[in-house]
Symmetry: C3
Subunit: 350 residues, 3 copies
């Protein structure tokens, strides 16, 4: 990361691209075609962007061979435009590095094990026997519980809370306000109300996992909640105790996953989906936004449950009918029966 | 703000009201008619409240001319009762002022620019080149990233996180736990899993914006996420990268707005609504609670999508029929066709 | 709490169980039958677990009299297995005790009243006239506003924010990131946009309440938001101003409850439910996951509103029909009318 200028020849080498244009031209950022200045880089990964090329002041364009002859200016020709954009975005990251070492206002337990090149920000609190590995950066106000462990090069933004015993892998990013390892929602009913089931399990987060802001990931009741390598999670996501999420699955914002649900690998769960507890979702499943997932599935598929949005007057009328659906179905059956008695006794159409 | 007594004559002047009653009567707070004591002020802004007037011990009532003759006690007659209540509520705010100056436990970067009459609470952390303007109050534990800027008289509650480069306008209120400027959910798929698209844009929040607690407002991928002047946002709201929200729109609790959605001005979005990405919502649109907004609209309207709540037995039966709707429709068509063959060939009714 | 070994005879006495087996056998934790080692305790509270008994290495099993003859190893026979598991889980809680006293980095107002055996963690901030009772533990980074009060033995996890004037009862647990007492979403519309209604009420939380992580509980506008004794609340739950939740009700993750809603006692609200404002829910009501609760009820019942999840192709076809439901209903009526004219004029079937 850094925030420095690069020449097109440097970017070409970094992206393993083919450069057509001025190798010495210098780039200091990325912008879309409509906003870009001559010191910025843009990209075209779909036909609809081509219209902006003639007017664009952009310094250079990333595109693939199919689009290369549409633009006369500086261009970096690549195989996968969107991936090239992702890679180059890292060069212009504007988040400042945190200085290595432990900020004097941080409170670190004497038995904690902090790598010498980790960075512990202001007002962090690190518990007994916690392990903070090489290259980890904890921004300010992060709380790491006893015996928790954060593996190398993971970046934790301000005010994240990592409870005792939680394990986070390498190269993860955890955004602010996220809580990992809070108690699962486990209570036994009794005559005196709810008796707490102490949550004795942990949370294991793999490598290269990204968790957005203000997420809640609960510790297991017995055994662990597990987020596998490469999973990406958006903001305000609730992950209950003993959930397992398979490798590279993507969970969008405002999703809730109830206890002991098992999500396969490479699933994509759109925003505001709610997934029931104790069900299994097959690898490569996709759920549309807002779906209430009450049952598991064993084969990949695309699933949805929300009815379409309507003008409120139409919605009111149709909603009333929704509560009469079973009756409507019975009336159709009755009509079919009655009609049959009137029709000639031919073989029926299907 | 403050928490002091006022005479009815002072309140009358403050509200530009007409006083009928004892100008010297002193008021120390607001309560509804059923709870109010003689030192408290109440209001009647709808007919249904009139029934409580005879028994109420209230010290004075705010009401409009239509209701004025219904009450014999002290009254402040105003044009807009609810607005008068809002205005007077500010006089009895009980949140303490934060002392001006920088708390000794705050950690402030040397290049940060803090106005001399700003208040920086305990354990705040302010980044390099951050700008905290005149009259701003940051309560404890607030993190402000490098180059972020908070304009005059904005109030930020404990443990809010403002990421690097975020800009917040004047006279805003940001509640605890809210995170502004976390990374948008941008990743390019590749053979090795998800490659992070570094989020190089920012967040621009206008003047007089209120954001509730535990909201997440992501920074733009390229370009900014923009919340215009006068927008109000409730708790646990997710605003993804590059969303734009127009002036004075109101977003209720648990709403999620996906990336690059554009919400017009003066929209009202009820609780638990989810708005799809890359769509545009016209000014003055209203969405009922729980609506899943999959398509944009170009004209103001009122929209809904959720089916009605039912007793669970009825719900089960009707839900089964929901999955047979298309078949039911085809059966109706078939019935119509068959019946037509039996009916005399007259012009059909419409 | 603690994390020490116990003999089966100690556990038997603690649970008021009947021990069949080796009273001296020592137990250091709990695990399910499939994972348990000989130093761990398991439980069987349903028939489906019996299959794991033969292969299990578990050190002892909690079960009831019906299952007692199914297992030849060490067993603790109890009346209510799940409740016994809950009780025993407390013995193996791994969260470390916080040392009594005020951490030197905490910032405590001079007028705050802190019990001598309370524990105030690193970087906590306690306001003027706040009251922290005996046995309370505030983990790091907790903010307690002026005049707030936390009663005996309540445990507050890192980075929780308790606003001014909020009252929390005895023996509660509040998880990280939760905000109690933020402003309710109250604004009066006016020509110049929204005018804030200052939220002058408070929040009163009873005894033995558990609140998960990243919840938002707003203060009342006038009067209080009230969470009664024994209520349990999961993660990412939004509770708006002036909501009342009755004793022992359970609110699962991602639920939103709008302003002034009244929830009865012993209700169970499943995940992702949204409850409208200004409605009353009867005691003992249950809502299925994802239900949008638009109306109150006066008698206990079980309610749901979400349509079933479908394969996306089927869902698309049926969704179109959903918008035509009223028309379908009218076509059925028309068919019935036409058919009636063709059928002999007999008394109709019902």
């Amino acid at each position: 990361m850094g925030n420095t200028e690069r020449s097109l020849s440097e970017l070409t080498e970094y992206l393993d691209a083919e450069l057509i244009g001025d190798a010495e031209h210098r780039i200091s950022g990325i912008a879309d075609l409509q906003c870009a200045s001559t010191s910025e880089l843009s990209f075209v990964n779909q036909e609809s962007y081509l219209q902006y090329l003639p007017q664009s002041a952009t310094g250079a364009v990333i595109l693939n061979a199919d689009f290369a002859d549409k633009y006369a200016g500086n261009k970096l020709v690549v195989a996968n435009t969107y991936l090239a954009y992702a890679k180059v975005s890292a060069l212009f990251e504007s988040l400042s590095e945190l200085p290595v070492g432990i900020h004097p206002t941080a409170v670190v337990a004497s038995s904690a094990n902090i790598a010498s090149n980790a960075a512990i920000g202001a007002h962090c609190v690190i518990g007994e026997q916690a392990h903070i590995a090489s290259g980890v950066r904890l921004y300010s106000g992060v709380s790491v519980g006893d015996r928790a462990s954060i593996d190398s090069n993971t970046l934790v933004h301000p005010n994240v809370v990592v409870y005792h015993g939680v394990s986070i892998g390498k190269n993860c990013v955890i955004h602010s306000g996220t809580v990992i390892g809070s108690d699962g929602f486990g209570f036994a009913p009794s005559r005196d109300g709810w008796t707490k089931i102490h949550q004795l399990g942990g949370v294991i987060i793999g490598d290269k996992v990204e968790v957005g802001s203000n997420c809640s990931i609960d510790r297991g009741a017995l055994g662990n909640t597990v987020i596998a390598d490469g999973v990406i999670i958006d903001n305000l996501v609730h992950i209950a105790h003993n959930v397992k999420i398979g490798k590279r699955s993507a969970i969008a914002g405002c999703v809730g996953i109830a206890g002991s649900a098992i999500i396969g690998e490479n699933c994509t769960v759109a925003g505001a989906v709610a997934i029931n507890g104790h069900i299994s979702i097959a690898d490569n499943s996709h759920f549309h936004g807002g779906t209430i997932v009450t049952k598991g599935n064993t084969e990949a598929g695309v699933f949805a449950s929300t009815p379409p949005m309507q003008d409120v007057k139409k919605w009111r009328r149709n909603s009333v009918r929704y509560t009469q659906l079973d009756e409507m179905s019975n009336r159709i059956k009755q009509l079919e029966k009655q009609l049959k008695s009137l029709l000639p006794a031919e073989p029926e159409e299907k």
